[in-house]
């Protein structure tokens, strides 16, 4: 910019989306990660029901990561949307509309609608407030479902849930093959979408909201609107996870709304590390596999060891598994960089 240039209107500056695009590229580690489900199919063909549950819970955790890890909304009532999705699929299947994809669509719509309506409750307040409001709402939903035991089946569960074969071809068998492939595909699809969302400018805005919401309006970001959108998306994802559970187990009871489900989900996400999507997936994998192995060894007292695992993770790896991995990665790359030998002037 030379001082004696003519005083013309400054040219429009183009925003460099380079960093976004680079971040959005799939890293090699990600490809390796997504080979795991394939590996699971071949390595553990007799454990497919467990792997299917892991996939479903991973999707559920993903839904929480979207609202918590990216938008900073702490929720202890996310099971509300999970349950709504589960019942959408369940009630449809009960009354003759057992096609899985139809159930998924219904679950998305119902859960998203519920998320949209209830998003108004989480717009303001501190972490504790949101925690308690979401908790309160999901508890009331549980009680409401309990009152309507005639419709929901109550604690004993809905009877007559008959899920038709997927795409008319693949029946849900006892070994769990169809269930597994179905859930992995759905998980991957929704993960892919989520990945796009978080790497978009919208995703960046969300991160800004989480880090410093009062500042965001100054940057032209309508905070409330963004929160409503992300909460709705998060609810929809949770609804899908719930529908998958009903369809793969052909069973649904009001237990899907229960507080322990929401609480365990929060644990899983924090264990894995919030705000990275992969934290949700890794957290689920580690938590559920640990639970499974420990319960096999000691059906009565496995909880002690699981608790110890959580305590140790927090003491030695802040920000969960992803946090720990990041630090390992940073330590590794710091070891690779040349020693600071400052003849170069920073620009």
């Amino acid at each position: 910019m030379s001082p004696d240039a003519p005083a013309a209107a400054p040219a429009l500056r183009r925003v460099d989306l380079g960093p976004f695009a680079r971040n959005a590229h799939w890293r090699p580690a990600e490809f390796v990660f997504w080979l795991l489900p394939v590996l699971g199919w071949f390595a553990f063909p007799e454990n497919l029901p467990l792997l299917t549950q892991i996939a479903i819970t991973a999707l559920f955790a993903l839904s929480l990561d979207l609202i918590l890890g990216y938008a900073g909304i702490v929720s202890l009532g996310h099971a509300a949307f999970f349950g709504l999705g589960a019942y959408a699929a369940g009630l449809l299947a009960r009354h003759g509309f057992g096609d899985p994809l139809l159930g998924l669509a219904a679950a998305v719509m119902l859960a998203a609608a519920a998320g949209f309506i209830s998003s108004i409750l989480v717009l303001r307040g501190s972490d504790l407030t949101r925690l308690m409001v979401t908790l309160g709402v999901s508890q009331m939903l549980y009680e409401a479902a309990n009152k309507l035991t005639d419709i929901t089946g109550g604690v004993d569960g809905l009877q007559g849930v008959e899920v038709k074969p997927l795409l008319g071809l693949f029946a849900f068998d006892m070994v769990g093959r169809t269930s597994y492939v179905y859930c992995i595909v759905v998980l991957f699809l929704f993960f892919w979408i989520a990945r796009h969302i978080v790497h978009s400018p919208f995703g960046l805005e969300l991160r800004g909201v989480r880090q410093n919401a009062p500042r965001m309006p100054a940057l032209g970001v309508p905070v409330n609107r963004r929160l409503i959108v992300v909460y709705t998306i998060g609810a929809a994802y949770a609804g899908v996870a719930g529908a998958l559970l009903t369809q793969t187990t052909q069973f649904v009871s009001i237990d899907v709304f229960s507080f322990p489900r929401s609480a365990e989900l929060l644990l899983i996400l924090v264990l894995g590390g919030t705000g990275s999507l992969y934290g949700a997936l890794l957290g689920t994998l580690v938590f559920m596999v640990a639970h499974y192995l420990l319960a096999d060894i000691n059906p009565q007292y496995w909880q002690f060891w699981l608790g110890l695992l959580l305590v140790l993770v927090v003491l030695f790896a802040r920000e969960g598994i992803m946090g720990g991995l990041r630090r390992l990665g940073a330590a590794a790359s710091a070891a690779r960089l040349p020693a600071p030998n400052s003849t170069r002037v920073p620009r």
């Binding site: 309160g136 322990p260 110890l308 959580l310 305590v311 802040r318």
Partner: protein, 285 residues
Amino acid sequence: MTVLFDGVASGLLLFLISVGLSVTLGLMNFVNLAHGAFAMLGGYVCVLLLSRLGVPFLLTLPIVVMVCATAGMALERTLYRRLYGASHLDQVLFSIGLVFMAISTAHFFFGAQQQPLQLPAFLRGQLDLPGLDIGVYRLFLIFVGLAVAAGLQWMLTRTHFGAELRASVDNRRAARGLGIDVDRVFSLAFALGSALAGLGGALGVETLGLDPEFPVKYIVYFLIVVAVGGSGNILGSLYASLILGITDVVGKYYLPQAGAFFIDAVMVLTLIFRPQGLFGRGAAR
């Protein structure tokens, strides 16, 4: 009205157990979901002393207080202290991990069933006054609850320690700069919170029962009190507990069909209109 009286007693028991959580959360900004585990510890110590060692009920209470205070201080010094700077979520994960361990340990040593507790005869039964039937134990609970509330408030406003505590909470660095040993203050506050939880747990065995799942069964109620009362506010917790206790009991009497909804509805409505709780301080964090 008897029902009102019952609600007050119910609320005060809730207050006793929850006030410690309000202290640690509000004053120390630490989310300690293992708070219920200290209450459980208090309950089991009381049952052990009473049922297996024959210690009179009233005498078990100060022992429970001391045991829980010691446990709280020990855990604070060794584990909790490292996590003061950690994010709230990490604190949640940590304290839940502790809860899991506590539940399993209780299950291992005491079994999964309910623990028997027989109150001494002078604490049982009812006093029949005109128009009002007062349960003796409930009266006892009210008395203890109010005494504790008064004691805490006095401590906070009239003692040196209370002043140090308030200073440390408002501005840790400045307090240190004034020569206040903040670490010691927090240790003591944590011990106090745990001791109160233990006392509440012991007193609650009669009405709430005692089994290894205690910490997770009731943690929601404690959180509700802290959220509605405003964290860090002792009087706030008292009023919140009373409101919740009374609403719950009165609601269930007049509208039993809606029984389960009252507490949750009151909480949600309160928090929608006043996100910082009824008596919470503004966002001065």
